[in-house]
Symmetry: C2
Subunit: 509 residues, 2 copies
């Protein structure tokens, strides 16, 4: 291909047009079916095209336009294509056929049952990070590695390749601690509390968190109601050096670019892959510069890890691979059968966090206990201290207000502490009868919170007054819906009252 | 999900707008980021949305629009979404969250190493045919079945599932013959000749062929320069009942809808899958109502099948599975080391076909011989006749003009015979030195033909005057380039003369 490019370059130029179409991660370009280049190059809908502009190169998928949306001299760019090319109005881009994707032969080899070594994994991950893989290619790679198809050597190779293609932060301190939760429970917002506790004890914890994908709030969404979280690497470093910890949005830091791309295809496929999960977690922790990492691993029927044996085999692999990339790993297996905290939605979850840190009387104890256990494990890893003493140390740091003051300092350093927004419209859902609360349908509760506007409307969501096990009287509040507009409140209510109760109360008691 | 749809239906409506964007097979819809439904439903770029209109339902992928391309009350539809919904201007569609895709759990089971039975394959293929799988889902299914991961039982189940979801033609005759080529050689246009020969002998052959995907011409493209090929099932049936045979475009007939969808993802992945290839071929033949099928299987270093062992194992599986779906299969293994015929491009390949059928003095003998061998094998399958007698019978049918007359009758029945177009602009590429032609770079030759306009410009392409083995004098024509416009000719020439010679002549002989 390469030896005809000088010729192509001379002819294959079109003027850019920003169409304002968000095609998510995959760059898409739009060209008229009757434009000279489509005809001469034989480009068709879904052709892959190399688009070049001032040294930026983007591999894009073509959508053919048969209307007057574009002129024949124009090429429409999707938002991500526009951004990656750093395009400006009236720019002229050059188009050519892309080189064949050599690393796909390693993916094919893996499909046919061969093992991948460090060089093969590196070639694949490098191309993925450079956005050369289509969604179809990514899906094939993920499927070929799913289940238990990656052995420990391959999982290690994948982890090292992911670290190699990203930035790896280095800190001027010997001990950097971190924390990760495998497969979240609803409302499990321990992260801001844990960071506050361990940073209050003088440890360094540069924590990155994600936004919600399908849930009503991610840790980054909740934290954003308390302080800015979209910090770049430079700003994150300044915060951590100043106050010893941070809670920022990982998407802005982009520590593991290949993993960010893989996750977006893994999620809709819903394929469990032990190897990819380990590589994803460890590569992000290594990239953040961590040396000691505690892994929160809830095990339960609705959690990601359902069996203790799975947790044990994951722990063995993580510890072993962690050693090859300079990470000291400790896994905390916890009960994952119950949700944690009372709020669902960014601001409501943030209020749970504040209640714990401030020692409020109504602070959810389950959330506090879990955060204390994680911080305690970090103290154990960081120095010679018994488990009991480590837990006690974490408790004291909350009780005497040190964690709360540290948290405020972190928020200030991240750009200024905020008061979580309060929803303008609320509606109390009351118990239709007296009795004990015997179950809560977390999936439908999450849907109600999303219909009310979470996470786009940060104040929206719901707050549980009566967790499972509480006894309620008839008319007593079960939960309160929060919405920013009357329309969203009505929308969530219409859904809610068209359903069987999401909070179940035992009959006739 | 289903129990909230009555509510969603009342609220989630938007007015359609045809954007004229061709997104290939995957339906895409475009909505403003600030439209009420995106906000309330939490739809984001790449969300899957169920779009409904007058009983038509389409699962579409969402692209968010951040410009004024659309109003907030509008939804833009891609061409395929518009077509599948049978939308008209000012229609109002209803939007909702789709049901979870249950059959993906079988795909996951296959990824984790379980075998798929008839019920599981049927559930998967039914959802694929209903276009419920995204490209990512399709890629996972294809990858999970690639290589030798489908055993004969699973390949049979896949074949039966593909037949079950499509239409299966039935003919009022006991014997229906068909032919398929596995992995094409350039220029191998035997199909029109074979159909003409066997129909001339009184057999029935309802042949469907494909258009070019990456090559300068498919059989349907070449045939289209001789007669209309975009016939629907009803028209195809009329032709076959009238003249005993047809050569139509399979894309218009849509006999195996699931296969058409799978192929579009299989091709870019370039993953060999014996099971899927067998299911694809046999399901299409069964759907066409065939009872006896000859499989043309060229074996050679640049053909799809490279080793004789592979051909043998394919043959065994095809014969065995064919029996379970009422197909009598015979495989003709042939030399696949050389291209066949002289023309490259729709009209130029059609002229080769005409030359053979008319017994022209300069007809390419390799093409004739291959067509005769295939027709002979069909005669063997159809009745008690020795291989030698079968070959002789096929030769006589060409020699005495019966095949030619039958071919003309087929063309007339398909809508009227045409004279293949002649290119307005030609350029002869002459031998730079005397000597024997020792090799032809078929890949680059195909590229030259495509740059000259093939297959979109049916007259475009090139014609080889001196096949490998011929001796040429200096200045003697090697091949002639054909183009419909001077620009396309110039474009192909600029590429050609920027390259090493595509036709190599031995030095100093």
């Amino acid at each position: 291909m390469s030896n005809h490019q000088p010729h192509d370059r001379a002819i294959n130029v079109l003027q850019v047009r920003r169409l304002g179409i968000d095609t998510y991660f995959e760059p898409v370009v739009f060209m008229r079916s009757d434009c000279a280049i489509c005809r001469s190059e034989g480009f068709e809908s879904h052709s892959r095209i190399l688009v070049s502009l001032r040294g930026h190169h983007v591999l894009a998928t073509l959508n053919i336009v048969t209307s007057n949306l574009l002129g024949t001299h124009e090429i429409g760019l999707s938002e991500i294509a526009w951004k990656l090319l750093a395009a400006e109005a009236d720019d002229v881009v050059t188009l050519s056929h892309p080189e064949p994707l050599e690393s796909m032969r390693h993916v094919r080899a893996k499909v046919y049952g061969q093992r991948l070594d460090d060089a093969a994994m590196h070639a694949i991950i490098k191309d993925i990070a450079a956005r050369k893989y289509t969604d179809i290619d990514l899906s094939a790679f993920i499927t070929a590695c799913a289940g238990d198809r990656l052995n420990i050597a391959e999982t290690g190779a994948l982890t090292r390749a992911m670290i190699a293609v990203g930035e790896r932060l280095s800190w001027d301190r010997p001990l950097i601690v971190d924390k990760h939760s495998v497969g979240g429970l609803p409302g499990n917002r321990t992260t801001p509390i844990v960071v506050a506790i361990v940073a209050a004890a003088g440890l360094t914890m540069p924590k990155t968190s994600s936004r919600a994908i399908t849930s009503p709030a991610g840790t980054a969404d909740a934290m954003e109601t308390l302080a800015p979280v979209a910090l770049d690497v430079k700003a994150m470093r300044r915060v951590v050096e100043q106050v010893g910890g941070c809670i920022v949005w990982g998407g802005a830091v982009q520590l593991s670019p290949a993993d960010d791309i893989l996750i977006r295809v893994e999620r809709p496929l819903d394929l469990d892959s032990e190897g990819q999960m380990i590589a994803s977690i460890l590569s992000k922790k290594a990239a953040a510069g961590a040396t000691h990492v505690v892994i929160d691993m809830p095990v339960g029927p609705t959690a990601k890890i359902r069996k203790l044996e799975t947790a044990t085999s994951l722990e063995t692999a993580m510890v072993k691979i962690g050693q090859t990339v300079g990470l000291n790993i400790s896994v905390l297996v916890a009960d994952g059968s119950q949700p944690v905290g009372r709020g669902i939605g960014p601001a409501l979850e943030a209020r749970d966090v504040l209640a714990v840190l401030r020692n409020d009387a109504d602070a959810p104890q389950d959330l506090r206990n879990r955060a204390v256990a994680l911080a305690g494990r970090i103290f154990e890893m960081a120095g010679s201290i018994t488990p009991e003493a480590a837990i006690a140390k974490a408790q004291v740091l909350i009780d005497d207000g040190q964690a709360w003051r540290k948290f405020q300092a972190i928020c200030e350093a991240q750009g200024g502490m905020r008061v979580p927004p309060q929803a303008a419209h609320t509606h109390v859902v009351a118990a239709p009868a007296a009795g004990p609360v015997i179950s809560i349908d977390n999936r439908r509760l999450a849907r109600v919170a999303k219909l009310a506007g979470a996470p786009q409307s940060p104040a929206a969501g719901l707050y549980l007054h009566s967790p499972v096990g509480t006894r309620v009287e008839r008319g007593q509040p079960l939960f309160t819906l929060h919405a920013e507009t009357p329309g969203e409140l009505a929308y969530a209510l219409a859904y809610l009252y068209g359903q069987p109760p999401v909070v179940a109360i035992a009959n006739g008691q």
